[in-house]
């Protein structure tokens, strides 16, 4: 199960947070934990370089893309390997929508589309779509090209 997908800006403000099956009272704790993890480790990291951490049976894969930090949290079958696949799809889709690694402003300008992409990629905790071209078409309600 993918437990959370979170986007934050360079100073740790939340841009998007989506939790799946995480009780409301634990969300604040996760949010501050992830932001701190990013503040401690993401300085000087190259775009899309993946970092990984684990706490007990929960895995976290995170990276930076332009001005935005991206965190994906998972457990069970969504271990570090599956999560790296998920975050790869997310970064590709965001880059595709924004045309480049986004500044915070650009990210917010494309906010609606990014939300739609996330909706195509993660369906309440499960990975649904993995190809950026297909996702790009699907958020406009266009069928996939191979079909």
């Amino acid at each position: 199960m993918i437990l959370a997908v979170l986007f934050a800006n360079s100073v740790g403000n939340i841009l998007v947070e989506r939790f799946f099956g995480v009780p409301a009272e634990e969300r604040l704790h996760w949010r501050s934990f992830l932001v701190k993890l990013g503040a401690d480790n993401l300085k000087g990291v190259k775009n899309e370089e993946l970092l990984v951490a684990c706490h007990k049976s929960v895995y976290i894969v995170y990276t930076v893309l332009g001005d935005v930090s991206i965190f994906v949290v998972g457990k069970d079958e969504y271990d570090e390997l599956a999560l790296s696949e998920v975050i790869f799809v997310i970064t590709s889709a965001v880059k595709d929508v924004c045309g480049k690694p986004p500044t915070e402003r650009l990210f917010l300008d494309k906010y609606g589309r990014i939300c739609l992409c996330l909706d195509e990629i993660v369906w309440t905790g499960l990975l649904e779509n993995t190809e950026k071209d297909r996702i790009k078409r699907m958020i406009r309600l266009k069928p996939p090209t191979e079909f």
Partner: protein, 887 residues
């Protein structure tokens, strides 16, 4: 005040600074959402408003019920628009708002229409939205469409239906299970993602059917799997099949091993790592099987991608726990990872090296770790400290280097958990490696000179009081202890006083000097410190310094508190000051945990029958009060133990009955708790008729029927038996509930005058040996064991035959004896071949019993057990052996 004028000379910067959502406010956006109701819809404007609503929701903002309903109704109006972009937004918004059951009806017709639309993408999205918001009834109506969608030619539609199926399986399993033919067909799909989703769903549908899973794995491992994600799933299912099938590992032909091995050569890294992990986790994996997996993992250790390095080292770390020798080839690569930027990887590398390193590499490793420790967080440091502790126990000769390392890091900065981990490690090393004792104690003494944690200081002082007096020169610790009396807070000072007293009691030559020090403590500013000093001075015989410290003083100072602290606190609170002094022997010894059955019963009643909340949970105290209020039982003496309630009926039956067994020295009382769950009935004169023909040593003496048992108002009936004094008599009792049943008019609540005699068969009840044992733990098993008379020890060996696992065998013996496991020894590490379990309890007649169980398991899963018992009464040691022999 006027805003200072700022010249905006760079438009680009300005643009980057301001967020399109700057100053966004929920109330205003909800106002804006009224555009959804416009007769002439502006799709662009509507999309912008939806984006703003999404932004609010994604920031953690919540809508009240009324707000959400209003937005939801407005959003449904947008189905009128034919704009594709807007429609996609509408689908997302409805999912985000997750409307309540009574609101869903508004959109279902629109969504059903979309689900039958010719536009595939409408179908895919409406399926996802519908499955998110509907309930079981509606699902039955659309089931036909979903089944068609699963085998739809368009992969997006098929995936939408399959992923929805995975979610719906949690809430409506019986419906989704009917789709297995379609899902089976989708597994053969040429679209990679459809196959992945179908495989996941099919496995979930059939996960309890071993044969079906085995067939699925067999066919797919031979066929084509199109995506790495699906391949990873298949590997996991394969290892599950291998684990469940009793493969013949002796001859080496493990089923599906070749498949896993072939996956090690797959082109996707994810698949290779998954296969390597599956091989390393095989039950009883051999070195030959491990080698290819470890080889590929070794290659990943030097990968440029942190995720792959992490995955590889995490797997090797697990392998090192069971097969350290297989991992030694990777040592050089792992040493390279100690300086890895990613601290999780570095910590895993170090802890793995600590497991695989040999004695000669310890010094070199410690040097590397010392540099590493300064720049990692406490949570990682704790992992390293724990690994060093195990290493030291493995190579006791290296204790000097390892103990020095621990004492050095103890002096550095760190939080409580970290310091506690170090102190715990030093304590364990002192206990297990006799040579390390003196240096270890001195390290701890130095630590308390500058320790900011009261808890740790008091723990160390307590430990010093046990170990210090037994060293060659106890005198050298006194300075450190007495310094605490001057420099610390009251809690630590009080502990220091106790420690001094214990040194005085155990080391006769130090006693006069200790008495001098204790006398100085009489002027302390804190009551507790002064009280302790006064008490210990009198215990040590300060008035008559030549008197040797007596047995009583030692028992007082070193004897453990043989009643649970919680019970003592409760009893003291209930004690009313009077002429009669408080009697510690009146404190109950049984630690009462609320039994699961009672919890269930409580929750069932409050939800199922809408009864008022039940009274406080029955504890030993309430049982005791209840029984002593019944004159027939007053002569039975003090209650020894009450069991947890045993259910005698199945859930959801007409009459719910459970029984609590109360054990007295010469009697056993069964308390039958009865509940009548039929509102049209009143039961009267309720008794339980017991056939005790299979319980020869028991003779029925008292029966106390229940006068009336109205609907949903629990009542009790009792039955008492006499049994031989102090003997752990066992037996089986069959029970029948007998009563007079009267019809009740539910509208008026009045019952008829005449009733009918009726009976209701209940389950059998057993009195077992464990009923005569109280679960009473000891804080330090080793001390308790050594303080017990060695002559009372009885040792014997038993063969327990083939067992499912070692853990299962350990649990069975613990349950058979009904004793309290000590020091966490009830937990058996996975894959271990042997285990020692320590148990403690009080047997009927208030006889303390300690048990040491040593288990071993062989390749055929035959378990052998050595049982050593010490107790206050030799005959009880024999009785424990009899229980095990007959169990």
């Amino acid at each position: 005040m006027a805003q200072p004028l700022v010249k905006k000379d760079d438009d680009h910067d300005d643009e980057a600074e301001y967020s399109p959502f700057l100053g966004i406010e929920k109330g205003a956006i909800l106002q804006e959402a009224r555009v959804f109701n416009d007769p002439q819809l502006d799709p662009r404007r509507c999309s912008q408003v939806i984006t703003k609503l999404l932004y609010l929701l994604n920031q953690g903002e919540t809508f009240t019920k009324i707000e959400a309903t209003e937005v939801f109704f407005s959003v449904t109006k947008l189905f009128q628009s034919r704009d594709l972009g807007l429609r996609r937004m509408v689908y997302l918004m409805i999912k985000e708002l997750s409307p309540s059951a009574d609101e869903v009806i508004i959109v279902t017709s629109s969504l059903m229409k979309d689900m039958n639309s010719k536009t595939d993408m409408y179908r895919a999205n409406s399926i996802r939205v519908l499955c998110r918001i509907i309930d079981g009834t509606l699902l039955t109506q659309i089931e036909r469409y979903l089944k068609q969608a699963i085998v739809d030619k368009n992969p997006v539609v098929a995936s939408a239906a399959l992923v929805s199926g995975i979610h719906l399986l949690q809430t409506n399993p019986e419906i989704v299970k009917r789709w297995s033919n379609e899902v089976q067909e989708a597994v053969q799909s040429r679209a990679a993602l459809v196959q992945f989703h179908a495989l996941a769903l099919l496995h979930q549908i059939r996960q309890n059917d071993r044969l079906a899973v085995s067939k699925l794995v067999t066919s797919l491992t031979r066929g084509t799997v199109r995506s790495p994600l699906a391949q990873c799933l298949l590997i996991r299912y394969t290892s599950q099949v291998i684990c469940e099938s009793a493969g013949n590992t002796q001859t080496g032909d493990r089923p599906f091993y070749d498949y896993l091995e072939s996956c090690l050569r797959h082109k996707a890294e994810m698949v290779i790592l998954e296969a390597a992990r599956a091989i390393t986790e095989l039950n009883g994996v051999t070195s030959r099987e491990l080698t290819p997996a470890v080889t590929v993992l070794q290659l990943f250790l030097t990968s440029s991608k942190p995720v792959l390095r992490f995955a590889a080292i995490r797997t090797l770390n697990k392998v090192a726990m069971t097969h350290p020798m297989s991992v030694t080839n990777c040592n050089i690569d792992m040493e390279g990872l100690i300086s890895d930027q990613n601290r999780s990887i570095a910590t895993l590398a170090i802890t793995t090296l600590l497991k695989t390193g040999n004695e000669s590499s310890v010094d070199r490793l410690m040097k590397q770790i010392t540099n590493f420790m300064s720049d990692i967080a406490d949570e990682f440091k704790i992992v390293v400290v724990e690994a060093i502790r195990s290493l030291c126990l493995k190579f006791p000769l290296k204790y000097r280097a390892l103990m020095n390392f621990l004492s050095n890091i103890l002096r550095e900065e760190g939080g409580f958990e970290y310091k506690k981990a170090i102190v715990d490690s030093i304590v364990i090393l002192i206990r297990d490696i006799p040579d390390a004792k003196e240096s270890g104690l001195l390290h701890l003494c130095e630590f308390i000179e500058d320790c900011e944690f009261t808890y740790l200081s008091t723990q160390i002082l307590h430990f010093l009081s046990i170990e210090g007096p037994k060293t060659s020169d106890p005198c050298k610790y006194i300075r450190y202890i007495y310094n605490r009396v001057h420099l610390e807070n009251a809690t630590v000072r009080a502990s220091a006083v106790t420690t001094l007293a214990k040194f005085g009691a155990l080391v006769e030559s130090l006693k006069p000097r200790i008495i001098v020090l204790l006398k100085r403590c009489l002027f302390d500013s804190d009551d507790e410190v002064r009280d302790r000093a006064t008490l210990y001075l009198s215990t040590l015989g300060a008035d008559d310094a030549v008197v040797e410290t007596g047995e009583d003083a030692n028992e007082f100072l070193f004897g453990s508190l043989d009643v649970p602290l919680v019970n003592l606190v409760t009893s003291l609170k209930n004690y009313v000051p009077s002429d009669e002094p408080f009697d510690i022997s009146s404190v109950p010894r049984e630690v009462k945990v609320q039994p699961l059955a009672e919890k269930k019963a409580t929750s069932k009643k409050s939800t199922g029958l809408g009864a008022p909340p039940t009274g406080p949970t029955a504890t030993v105290d309430t049982y005791e009060r209840l029984l002593s209020s019944i004159p027939e039982f007053s002569s039975f003496g003090k209650l020894f133990k009450s069991s947890a309630p045993v259910e005698l009926t199945e859930a959801e039956t007409e009459y719910a009955v459970n029984v609590v067994k109360h054990i007295f020295y010469q009697h056993v009382v069964f308390q039958y708790n009865c509940t009548n769950t039929i509102s049209e009935q009143l039961l009267e004169n309720v008794t339980v008729i017991v056939d005790a023909s299979e319980a020869e040593e028991f003779a029925e003496v008292v029966s106390k029927p229940l006068g009336s048992l109205p609907y949903d108002s629990p009542g009790q009936t009792f039955l008492a038996f006499e049994k031989p004094e102090g003997v752990p008599a066992v037996g089986k009792f069959s029970n029948v509930l007998r009563f007079l049943v009267k019809e009740v008019d539910p509208s008026t609540g009045e019952s008829e005058d005449d009733g009918v005699e009726d009976e209701y068969q209940l389950e059998d009840l057993e009195v077992v040996a464990a009923d005569y044992m109280q679960k009473v733990g000891v804080s330090n098993f080793r001390n308790a064991w050594e303080n017990m008379n060695p002559d009372s020890e009885k040792v014997d060996e038993y063969g327990l035959g083939p067992r499912e696992s070692l853990a299962e065998a350990v649990n069975a013996v613990i349950n058979l004896l009904g004793m309290q496991p000590c020091e966490g020894t009830e937990v058996v590490p996975s894959n271990s071949r042997s285990h020692t379990c320590l148990l403690s309890g009080v047997f009927i007649g208030n006889v303390k019993v300690l048990v040491r169980l040593s288990f071993g398991i062989n390749g055929q899963k035959d378990v052998a057990m050595k049982l050593a018992v010490r107790s206050d009464d030799e005959s009880i040691s024999d009785a424990i052996h009899e229980i095990v022999a007959s169990g």
